[in-house]
């Protein structure tokens, strides 16, 4: 009896113990699921039950100064595929084939994207236009949906490609103004989180929270599409005519510092930039600000400006050219090895005498000479706001007391041994054309946002030289052009001034590239009241290197058409008839 009772009690306790143990195990598992790993499981559940999309409003447009769009966005679609709906290979292949017919993305590529995806949902095709989007929607494929996005388009084609730059897949700027103005153009993306059903579609009465996106602002640039196109056409023609490697043209409005055109060659197709080939990435850079060069004789304008403004010389001041100037152990000759005897300061510019420029620099003294060089904006970025802009290089007794030699000033005086960007050079001459006031280069005129318009005012950097000296130098530039054959420089109806430059190309080891030159011409038009300053720089022309021959004609053709387009009245003597109303 006692033994039987003991057995019964033992069995009861065994059952109780089993129940307690099972309860304990279940409790432990619950603790693990709901407390220890709560965050992970909650996240997994959210991933399945909730969808989250980034909402992007339209990216702002880049407009030219008259409101014509140079880069704008239109609505587009990305095709999103929910990975688990493509787990069946046959169904996935059928869906991918259908999508491939519409999207131009190969079916195998789409299948690969989905197969390798780690996310719940992945885009398999981007930037579809409206018609493609509608076609995809009408397929009604399970687990495939359209996500609104935007596509960047360029109504003017490749105009100002390097300046404008381009955007990436996520509609963020990658180069040029697109990246420099990204925060303004891009606006603020929004986000929507919603509860979804098993197919990934939004539940009608599910949870939903939305932060609406803020649209990007339109940016009105200082660029004039007509002048920009002229610049690019003339640049292409000059490069073609001279078998050159490349070049740059910049057009500046001197009074405001606004950049009307900025063109560089070689260039790239902004509508289809090739990011896969690293060697082609050099094409993306805006050479007007990223590349430096030795300006050559164009720089004699700066040397003359210093000497004139210091009151050391006037255009008619005489000086004797022996054909050589000895500085320390170095001898400096004229470009044609000529000895011209008695010459005026005007003739130093007209005949582009290296010896004369060295004489003027020596007259100023190194402190004054480099003071003017810096006042004209060389050696520091012009603060254009464009990323990638470099300082250039000016070696002075102050910034390189051990490396600087006296002969450096002599060579600097005619634009050698000094590195400048095309934009720095153009802005410096624009200062001469603007009564001696150096302006900050301006590329953005207005920002038109949802809340209003912000107008960017021109900014003066400093008075570099007196207005009187600037006027004198401007007239001297007019005399320089008068001495150039009209076969090369002739702006019909307008008086213009300018200066040519032919310079060697410095190499990284400190020498010069043999038989390679940079030919340039910088001109001001019209001379009495300058409206434009044009820098034409042609890299490595094949035959003759002279700036007059290579770059002069491009300046003439561009200036003539640009002035007529800008409704700048021609010189009085060019008017052939008068009409009264």
């Amino acid at each position: 009896m006692g033994k039987r009772r003991f057995t019964e009690v033992w069995r009861v306790w065994a059952v109780v113990a089993a129940i307690v143990l099972a309860t304990f195990v279940v409790t432990l598992r619950l603790v693990q699921l709901q407390i220890v790993d709560h965050a992970r499981y909650a996240a997994d559940a959210r991933l399945i039950h909730y969808g989250r999309d980034t909402l992007a409003d339209r990216r702002g447009a880049l407009l030219d100064r008259n409101g014509y769009p140079l880069a704008a966005s239109e609505s587009g679609f990305n095709v999103m595929v929910e990975q688990r709906t493509w787990e069946d290979p046959a169904k996935a292949r059928a869906a991918a084939d259908s999508l491939a017919e519409i999207t131009d993305v190969p079916a195998d590529e789409m299948l690969g994207i989905v197969r390798d995806a780690e996310a719940f949902e992945i885009p398999v095709a981007r930037g579809l236009d409206y018609a493609q989007g509608v076609a995809v929607r009408e397929l009604g494929l399970a687990g495939v949906r359209l996500l609104e996005s935007s596509r960047r388009t360029y109504p003017e084609g490749n105009l100002a490609a390097q300046l404008l730059g381009f955007v990436g897949q996520e509609n963020s700027g990658l180069t040029g103004l697109e990246i420099d103005l990204d925060s303004i153009l891009g606006g603020n993306p929004g986000q929507v989180t919603y509860e979804r059903d098993g197919l990934g579609n939004q539940l009608a009465f599910g949870d939903r929270s939305e932060i609406p996106p803020q649209p990007g602002a339109n940016v009105v640039l200082s660029i004039d599409r007509y002048v920009q196109r002229l610049a690019e056409q003339e640049l292409d023609r000059a490069i073609g005519d001279n078998g050159a490697e490349g070049g740059t043209i910049i057009v500046i409005q001197p009074e405001t510092g606004q950049v009307l055109a900025m063109a560089s060659r070689p260039t790239f197709d902004v509508t289809k930039p090739d990011l896969s080939d690293n060697s082609k990435q050099a094409l993306f850079r805006n050479r007007a600000i990223t590349d430096t060069y030795e300006p050559g004789s164009v720089f004699k304008l700066i040397t003359a400006a210093a000497a004139l403004d210091l009151g050391l010389v006037s255009p008619g001041t005489w000086w004797y050219d022996e054909g050589v100037v000895h500085v320390s152990d170095w001898s400096i000759y004229n470009w044609d090895h000529s000895a011209n005897g008695s010459q005026t300061v005007q003739q130093i510019l007209s005949k582009s005498l290296n010896t004369g420029a060295a004489y003027l620099a020596n007259l100023c003294g190194s402190a004054n000479f480099y003071d003017y060089v810096e006042r004209f904006g060389f050696g520091v970025t012009s603060d254009s706001g464009l990323s990638g802009e470099v300082d250039g290089r000016v070696r002075t007794p102050d910034n390189d007391p051990t490396g600087w030699r006296e002969v450096d000033m002599a060579t600097n005086s005619f634009g050698q041994g000094i590195a400048v960007t095309p934009l720095q050079m153009a802005m410096a001459v624009a200062a001469i054309a603007n009564d001696g006031v150096l302006m900050k280069p301006q590329l953005v005129n207005e920002i038109v946002g949802p809340l209003g318009t912000q107008v960017v005012e021109p900014q003066a950097v400093r008075q570099v030289m007196s207005p009187e000296s600037a006027r004198t130098l401007l007239d001297m530039m007019g005399v320089v052009v008068d001495g150039v054959s009209t076969a090369y420089v002739d702006v019909s109806g307008y008086e213009v001034g300018g200066k040519t430059g032919t310079a060697n190309i410095a190499t990284e080891n400190g020498g010069y590239k043999p038989d390679a030159y940079i030919s340039s011409f910088i001109g001001v038009a019209p001379l009495d009241d300058p409206e434009i300053v044009v820098l034409v720089k042609i890299d490595e022309p094949e035959d003759v290197p002279w700036g007059t021959v290579v770059a002069g004609p491009a300046f003439s053709r561009l200036a003539e058409q640009a002035l007529a387009y800008m409704k700048v009245p021609p010189a009085q003597q060019a008017l052939v008839a008068g009409l009264q109303d």
Binding site: A72, V576, G578
Partner: protein
């Protein structure tokens, strides 16, 4: 029907003489209809939600087409296309020489930014005087 010892009925007085099954059926119907109401409401709301979603889709489609048309217009106004039309269709050629005429008339107005790129103009808020605000309702001449 059961009756209490004092002879009164267990059925409330108001229900006495009424057919109980009928009451039960009516009650069941009321409960049924009441239960159907949320279902109908949910169904209506669902279909309305679907309609809203469809209309939103439609609006987005039109917006996309509008943007597409805006850019098509921009493309038609591009310099390349203008030059091509001038040369090919209108047979225009560049002039050999330029003649400048002096015209005694004002210059044409400068280009303005197309209105589609300008922010919406808001009506200026009229700010009257304090007395005007206080007695504005009085019908004075």
């Amino acid at each position: 029907m059961a009756a209490n010892r004092d002879g009164s009925s267990a059925i409330p007085e108001v229900l006495q003489g009424t057919n109980i099954p009928v009451i039960l059926i009516v009650a069941a119907l009321i409960v049924g209809v009441a239960a159907l109401l949320p279902l109908v409401q949910t169904s209506l709301a669902t279909s309305t939600g679907g309609n809203v979603s469809r209309l939103e889709q439609l609006r987005e489609d039109w917006q996309a087409r509008l943007h597409e048309q805006e850019l098509r217009v921009a493309g038609l106004g591009s310099l390349d296309r203008i030059e091509s039309e001038a040369k090919v269709r209108l047979k225009m050629v560049a002039p050999d020489s330029v003649t400048y005429l002096s015209v005694d008339a004002p210059a044409p107005a400068q280009h303005r930014l197309p209105s589609r790129y300008l922010p919406d103009e808001k009506d200026p808020v009229e700010s009257g005087s304090l007395w005007g605000d206080l007695f504005g309702w009085v019908p004075l001449p």
